[in-house]
């Protein structure tokens, strides 16, 4: 239904606009806040794709933890007395070119995939993504190993972050 498309277009525009502002904002806090907006937009897209659990996880983890963490770090690493200087480095032209190339390349690859215009399939009858996800994450036949590894990764990251950021006296 067209409303679906309209919503998608709005959300996509919002997200892309916010992302654009993230990378082009002069003020770093503004960038962080626009990042929050972009992450929200992505959450909505997840919701549009019937991945409701992930939408919530996105908001909680990304916005609630990661973005906040970023803001903390911005606060901790600011020189108030100094001017922020130009926000782009000297090679931004090249970066632009690369971005466009990457975008163009990706589009082209997608276009050469025959299933590019697949329509939305109907949901299966016993659609219960949360339950399925839960089982998949702990089932030995499924993804228990990546799950456990991810846990270990998080522990390592935790410890590592603490140690790296530990203030040496």
């Amino acid at each position: 239904m067209p409303i679906f498309e309209l919503i998608f277009i709005l959300v996509a525009a919002l997200t892309l606009g916010a992302a654009f502002l993230v990378v082009t904002s002069k003020n770093l806090i503004h960038s962080a806040l626009w990042l929050v907006v972009a992450l929200f937009g992505v959450a909505i897209v997840f919701a549009l794709l019937n991945a409701g659990f992930l939408a919530v996880v996105q908001v909680v983890i990304y916005i609630g933890a990661i973005a906040i963490l970023m803001i903390f770090t911005i606060m901790l690493t600011r020189f108030i007395t100094q001017s922020t200087g130009p926000r782009f480095n000297t090679n931004w032209i090249w970066a632009l070119i690369i971005s466009f190339l990457m975008f163009g390349g990706l589009i082209w690859i997608f276009n050469s995939w025959p299933g590019i215009n697949t329509q939305l399939p109907p949901l299966p009858a016993d659609f219960d993504p949360i339950r399925q996800l839960g089982i998949a994450l702990v089932s030995p036949n499924a993804y228990v190993l990546p799950f456990e590894l991810a846990s270990v990764l998080l522990v390592a990251a935790l410890i590592g972050a603490i140690i790296v950021a530990w203030e040496r006296t």
Partner: protein
């Protein structure tokens, strides 16, 4: 309704913008934000493919969950590093952190 191509286009655009942010921004935290954008684009891509190609399986979502965990870990460590660098050099501009040579 919406063919998958819209979602793919959207994720490609988001990814490119994130790439631009990674490559062009001076502030290290802004680079990290660009990385976040790119990871989010990847996630969108994954979920889109899950929904359109095999919604009955849950593998797509599981993958996306792992990506979440990885992204979180990475941001944590990365920010810890930035803070450590900031303590040493009093700067987080990527241009000035140039010891990765010789």
């Amino acid at each position: 309704m919406i063919p998958i191509s819209w979602y793919l286009l959207f994720s490609a655009a988001l990814f490119s913008i994130g790439l631009y942010g990674v490559l062009a921004r001076k502030n290290a935290i802004a680079i990290l934000m660009g990385i976040e954008l790119m990871l989010n684009a990847v996630n969108v891509n994954l979920i889109a493919f899950w929904r359109y190609l095999s919604p009955e399986k849950i593998d797509g979502q599981a993958f996306a969950v792992i990506v979440f965990a990885t992204a979180a870990a990475e941001v944590a460590v990365g920010l810890a590093i930035f803070i450590s660098i900031y303590r040493r050099r009093h700067t987080v501009a990527a241009d000035e952190i140039d010891l990765l040579k010789w």
